[in-house]
């Protein structure tokens, strides 16, 4: 697993189940820009990239004017939680 993907899973798994984390907050915690995170999160979502379906570990959504990220059950399992 990519180091950034692993770090993202760790950060998200540390949150209560179902809780959303804002993209800027994740970026600050991991020291990464929004575009880096968006690209990594896209690879961890469901949508196929390069013809390969994603693992569906995260869902990215717009809520009340903020981009937020949630871990799915599959993501929590992948995070070892």
């Amino acid at each position: 697993m990519d180091a950034l993907a692993a770090a993202l899973l760790r950060e998200l798994a540390a949150e209560p189940e179902g809780a959303a984390v804002s993209l800027p907050r994740l970026g600050k915690r991991l020291g990464q820009g929004a575009s880096v995170l968006m690209r990594q999160l896209a690879a961890m979502g469901e949508a196929p990239i390069g013809g390969t379906p994603g693992p569906g570990w995260v869902r990215v959504a717009m809520e009340e004017g903020r981009w937020v990220v949630r871990l799915t059950p599959a993501g929590r399992a992948a995070a070892g939680g």
Partner: protein, 781 residues
């Protein structure tokens, strides 16, 4: 449909109006709107390059917060709408061709490669390999490779463009019409022989140092909104900004910076132009000549105005230019520029008093018959005071499409220099074709003559971007095969050849996954900065291919498939990792030494700019002053001499604010006060009265040309506007039918879409009152 109204726009460019417009654009594409600001701030140093225009980024991480049109471009690409096989099953092409350009693109992202099925008059899905085999079969069946035409849009990345030119030259032709042919071709044609390079010489840093910035024929508020940030900053530190433009444009007057909390909170704004000269369309050469004549007279009177050291050391031709300027009567300059002697002297005083000066120009200069001469006069002006190759000074042709300059750098040129062909031969071991190919206008002629039988377009919307719509559509329809690589449906896909393919590709914002992992591509902006662009969103469909992958697979299918010429280039291996393509680019172009390493740095690197170093790569080793007479025998002059019973106007075709090239994002042109409609013609109030008409009346436009063909565009609403008498402005592509194929710039061949002689007549009810633009064009065709 949105309410149609004409309502004077009181506000500044940018500001809250821009943010509202962005929100509406996002809504229209079914993208959540509350987080627009967050969405727009997603662009970061390692993000994607804005596909909106070719203006550079200062820090390369704040693009969208500033730019309404960039946001619209991204929203259009990131739309939640899809036009897949089900959509095409519901619509025959006969139905689609009757829809407007706006409607076609508004259907959303294409999801599958599609092939035209003549039996059902519908596009139906096709597998990628079958599509490539179909194209290869057509290409390899042609008796002469010069019967194939390969168009390039300025959106194509360096990697795609490099592979494309290599494939096409291995196939055997230099037929590379591109969007440069329709925009800044005259800039290269003028500057290359004059100062040794065809690109601008300035950097963004120069805008922070210039004492004066001259803007000719350019409307940055709509076409390069991020430029307003530089102009605002220049104005605030006291620089003079001198605009020459026929129409009064709000973006050249006042700007409210959406990034300035103070301006947004107080509804304040910053003036842009310190001087605004509304010259007549095509009057720029005369105006610049007047400025230079004044500067020369000041030199004669008091000395110390010209940079004699620069002129002596770096240039040739000064004496001939000076003699020509002295001999030119002010009366001629006034008559042809539409400005008074005092106005030209005033502009000349600003220039003479500026320690450093930048001259910018856009399509308002290039799309005229004498554009090459005019640009050389602009460079003459700069050289009089040594305003090339020093801080705060230089030439700035402002390009439109995001990588149009890079594509030309990569060899997308129908007139390739021998050195490029020699290097391709050396690196790739094949004999490139040496005969020059066709540009846009000549490619249309080639198709009309039946000698252009396969038309392949790497992006763009050829049918809507080109002049003489009736001729262009006939040309495309005569082809054996038309192929379009694209993200969304557009006019060119429904005006097609006997066989036709639509090949959907990844957008700039999307992750491009290849065997070696996610890939980035490179682009070159208007100031020769090359940087990486990498998408952040999942692709709109799992069936999309990247442009480099499409080119590579097509090349392999064509060159190494049945009846192919054979190729030693490892096409499919190259697109596994785009760094391999960049390694090849480095082998062909010396300026790209250590390409992969240099482009990895945040912000990328700048290509060498010889003129910016005062190194003149010309025949003489010097920069050349070039004298040109004031044009007095243009098509407009001739039409006015010929037509005595009607007023001949000069028509300027232009964009609306809700438009990017041929892409129509909406029906408003906010800064000009036009809402919910596009079929308007801007005209001076006195001209309306002189015609016996009134504001709001409907008119038809007819071209005055000398080839006996009727060219008309019907049903335009007169809108009184601050524009010089005798001039009109109206939107393209609606007015493209009025631009004759033979109306081209001298030397450059660029369609002269801002200098078309037309007459106005009251609207004749020959078409339905609710006709869409496409229907009118279809009638014309």
């Amino acid at each position: 449909m949105a309410e149609q109204k004409i309502e004077f726009y009181k506000g500044p460019a940018g500001g809250w109006g821009a943010l509202r417009s962005v929100t509406q654009a996002l809504l229209r594409q079914d993208i959540p709107v509350k987080g627009a600001k967050t969405l727009l701030s997603a662009n970061q140093p390692d993000g994607f390059d804005c596909p909106g225009c070719a203006w550079p980024d200062r820090n390369h991480h704040s693009t969208f917060e500033f730019c309404e049109n960039g946001a619209k471009a991204v929203a259009a690409e990131a739309t939640a709408r899809r036009a897949g096989p089900a959509f095409f099953a519901q619509h025959t092409v006969a139905e689609l061709v009757r829809q407007s350009d706006f409607w076609l693109e508004d259907q959303g992202r294409l999801t599958h490669p599609m092939v035209y099925d003549a039996a059902s008059d519908r596009y139906v899905p096709i597998e990628w390999d079958a599509a490539f085999a179909l194209i290869a079969r057509h290409l390899n069946a042609l008796p002469d490779p010069d019967q194939a035409i390969f168009y390039t849009s300025g959106r194509a990345s360096n990697e795609a463009a490099f592979l494309y030119q290599l494939f096409v030259r291995e196939y055997g032709t230099n037929n590379f019409p591109d969007c440069s042919n329709m925009c800044h071709e005259p800039s290269g044609s003028a500057m290359k022989p004059q100062i040794g390079m065809g690109k601008g010489t300035v950097t963004l840093d120069d805008f922070t140092k210039a004492d004066a910035i001259f803007i000719f024929g350019q409307n940055p508020g709509t076409n390069h909104p991020r430029m307003l940030g530089e102009l605002r900053a220049a104005h605030k530190r006291g620089a003079r900004i001198v605009s020459f433009n026929p129409l009064r444009e709000r973006g050249l007057e006042r700007f409210q910076d959406p990034q300035s909390k103070l301006e947004m909170a107080t509804l304040g704004d910053t003036p842009i132009s310190t001087h605004y000269f509304q010259l007549r369309a095509g009057g720029d050469l005369a105006a610049v000549k007047g400025m230079m004549k004044h500067v020369l007279e000041q030199e004669d009177a008091r000395g110390g105005v010209l940079d004699h050291a620069f002129i002596a050391e770096h240039t040739i031709g000064f004496e001939a230019l000076a003699a020509d300027l002295r001999a030119e009567p002010w009366a001629v300059l006034e008559a042809e520029s539409g400005l008074t002697e005092a106005q030209m002297r005033s502009a000349g005083d600003v220039y003479a008093g500026a320690g450093s000066a930048i001259v910018c120009w856009g399509m308002g200069i290039t799309q005229h018959p004498h554009s090459v001469a005019t640009i050389q006069m602009l460079v003459n002006l700069l050289m009089l005071r040594g305003n090339l190759g020093r801080p705060g000074a230089g030439a700035c042709p402002v390009r439109g499409h995001s990588n149009v300059q890079g594509d030309r750098t990569m060899g997308i040129w129908e007139k390739p220099p021998a050195a490029l062909l020699d290097r391709l031969q050396q690196v790739f071991g094949f004999e490139p074709p040496r005969t020059h190919g066709v540009d846009v206008v000549d490619s249309i002629r080639l198709m009309l003559e039946g000698k252009g039988r396969v038309f392949f377009a790497l992006g763009g919307n050829f049918a809507a971007a080109t002049p003489d719509t009736a001729a262009t559509w006939q040309a495309l329809r005569q082809c054996d095969l038309t192929v379009h690589v694209t993200t969304k449906l557009n006019r060119s896909h429904v005006v097609h050849g006997r066989e036709a393919l639509i090949l959907p590709c990844l957008g700039r914002t999307e992750i491009d996954m290849q065997a070696a992992g996610p890939q980035g591509v490179t682009v070159e902006d208007s100031m020769s900065m090359v940087h990486l662009s990498a998408g952040i969103n999942p692709p709109a469909s799992e069936h999309l291919l990247s442009e480099p992958a499409i080119v590579a697979r097509l090349a392999a299918a064509t060159l190494n498939g049945p009846a192919g010429r054979g190729s030693r280039t490892p096409w499919l291996w190259l697109v596994e990792d785009y760094a391999r393509i960049r390694d090849l680019i480095e082998q062909v172009f010396d300026d790209f030494k250590d390409f992969n390493a240099r482009v990895a740095a945040p912000g990328g690197f700048r290509l060498r700019n010889t003129a910016g170093e005062r190194v003149w790569v010309t025949d003489t080793g010097k920069a050349a002053f070039v004298a040109h007479p004031v044009p007095r025998d243009t098509p407009v002059h001739r039409a006015r001499a010929r037509v005595r019973d009607a007023v001949v106007f000069t028509l300027i075709t232009t964009r609306s604010h809700d438009q990017y090239n041929t892409t129509i994002y909406g029906m408003d042109d906010r800064y000009r006060g036009v809402f919910g409609q596009r079929r308007v013609v801007f005209i001076h109030p006195e001209d309306i009265r002189a015609l016996g008409l009134k504001d709001g009346d409907w008119v038809d436009l007819k071209t005055v040309w000398d080839d006996g063909q009727e060219r008309r565009a019907d049903r335009f609403r007169l809108v009184a506007y601050d524009i010089p008498r005798g001039n009109l402005a109206a939107y393209y592509p609606e007015t493209n039918p009025l631009v004759p194929l033979s109306a081209t710039a001298i030397v450059a061949g660029t369609p002269t879409s801002k200098a078309i002689p037309v007459v106005l007549v009251p609207h004749e009810e020959t078409v339905p009152a609710d006709a869409e633009p496409a229907q009118d064009a279809a009638v014309a065709a």
